[in-house]
Amino acid sequence: MGFDNAPRTSRRAVIKTLAALGAVGAAAAASALGVARNLFPWVSYGEDNRVKIGRGEDFADGDTVLYDRRLVVRKETAEDATVRIAAISMVCTHLGCTVGTVTGGFKCPCHGSQYDGDGRVMGGPAPRSLDWFDVTVDPAGELVVDKTKTCAVESFFEV
């Protein structure tokens, strides 16, 4: 397979070719990166990760299911009348379906993950327990759940 008769390629020609290819390649790569960046918007158009859910006194003791927020709000009132609130995510940690409430806990309709009443995994493919979110009170007295801040199971916040 020797190419003995092939004309010899000069070093200059090789360098020229590589330089040309490099320039075109760099321009193409830069354009591609620009287009790629275009496909990832700077902002999110979706729902805010910090949601207001109303005032502490709006909730009865025990669990309140907020389907539209995909949250369970748990309220406990101690004997000294201190109120503690927790927000438990209803988003299955497996693949993001909304879990349903069943006696004694939660079950996911998509792949059968099971959680107990505190969101600990009892069965199914779920890799970890349901998220418990940070709850704060804003200056107007409204409860704010921050879905970007997850805490340990049974994290209650005094309000």
């Binding site: 918007p41 993001g96 909304t98 349903g100 079950k107 996911c108 998509c110 059968g112 493919p125 890799p127």
Partner: protein, 457 residues
Amino acid sequence: MDAQLQQSPGMPESDPKPSPEPSLVRRIANEARDVLTDVRESLFRHDFADTFKTRSEIMFSYLLLHVMPVKVHRRSLKAATTLGLGVISLFLFGILTATGIVLMFHYIPSATITDSGLPEAFERMLNLRSNVGYGPFLRNMHRWCAHGMVAIVVMHMARVFLMGSYKKPRQFNWVIGMLLMLLTLLASYTGYLLPWDQLSLWGVRVGTEIAKYAPGGDLLRAFLLGDTDVGQEALLRFYVLHCVVLPMAIAGLVALHFWRIRKDGGLARADEDRSLSTGIPAEQSADDNRTGSVKSYQLVEVMRGRKPLVDSPIEDLVFSWPALILRIAIVCVLCLIVASIFSLAFDAPLEEPANPMSPPNPAKAPWYFLGLQELVGYNAFIGGILLPGVAFAFFLILPYIDRRSTRVGVWFARERWVENGLFILFVLVNILLIVIGVYFRGANWDFQLPWEVMGGH
């Protein structure tokens, strides 16, 4: 003719008529005939006598027909060789393109909740159902042909495997075929998002959550959704992918797939076929062809192969026109009839409008993804990424792994019993998973026997 007759010498000299110019009417008629001939000859670049020459010319003078060879092997024509699966796949893609374009005229990729309280895209489904002639039929055709295409493409792949036809020199065409299968699944997946019903929303939410478990999956998810969660941006992106990007990619790869079939020497057939079917020893038949001028009018094609094709018995090749074309037409018509009857009898599923708050219970994917859903039900990473990824990667590069020389183009070649056995086992496991997903999973994805509680959704 009449004009010429009048000029004949036998006519009396005394006739005062001057040498006749053809009448105006006749000249116009002649001119018109010439124009028509021109038109015909420019459209049909062959004559219409039924000769071998015409048959060849028909095959190579039309864009679509010239994709196919002028002559094909008798064996490639037999229904049992290919079951027509490739043709059916392409034809279904054609139906999908046609019905899809019509459906696009009625569709708006909008998740906005309208005054009626329904998402706009979902409302367009209802519009299609009640306000548009043949709307339900077109949507049924589109949905069922999509399901059919998934099934047929998989069967096509199984056929090629069980015949060992992916072997040298057809390795790369197998790779293209695997990519086409992937694109078919993606087209299906992006398609069922569009009605924006419960299946759409939760299918896409789960699918893109699975992506998170893959390396680099977050980026892929962000690209698909255009946002942090499934919503308007995702609907728009899936719409563009479904209607433009994926069909164009499929069409391009299909063209490549077909072109490679020709360049790789037509459909695979066992090498020994060539000398066995004539009963003439190879060297003698080669000799015949070299000296015998009898066959010299036959067309010669340049094909790749291990042996020179002069060994091949020319009698086994038949003209594609009309044998092949007629068979393709019959397959397509049958396919259209089946699809139409099916679409008249069964309505395409449309679940409740998308509810971002809670999924249906159980939330089931279409049947072809239920095996995957079953696997994911055990473990998201292993079932959703690792096993499908490894299986796909394995089949993608299969021709470069399985390099053993065996007969090709033969169903269930005996020397391939291990390969075929393992493959059939693989297919059966997949079917089993799908059957479990379809019939044995009830509310909360609990295992149930199909006759215990039917439905629930």
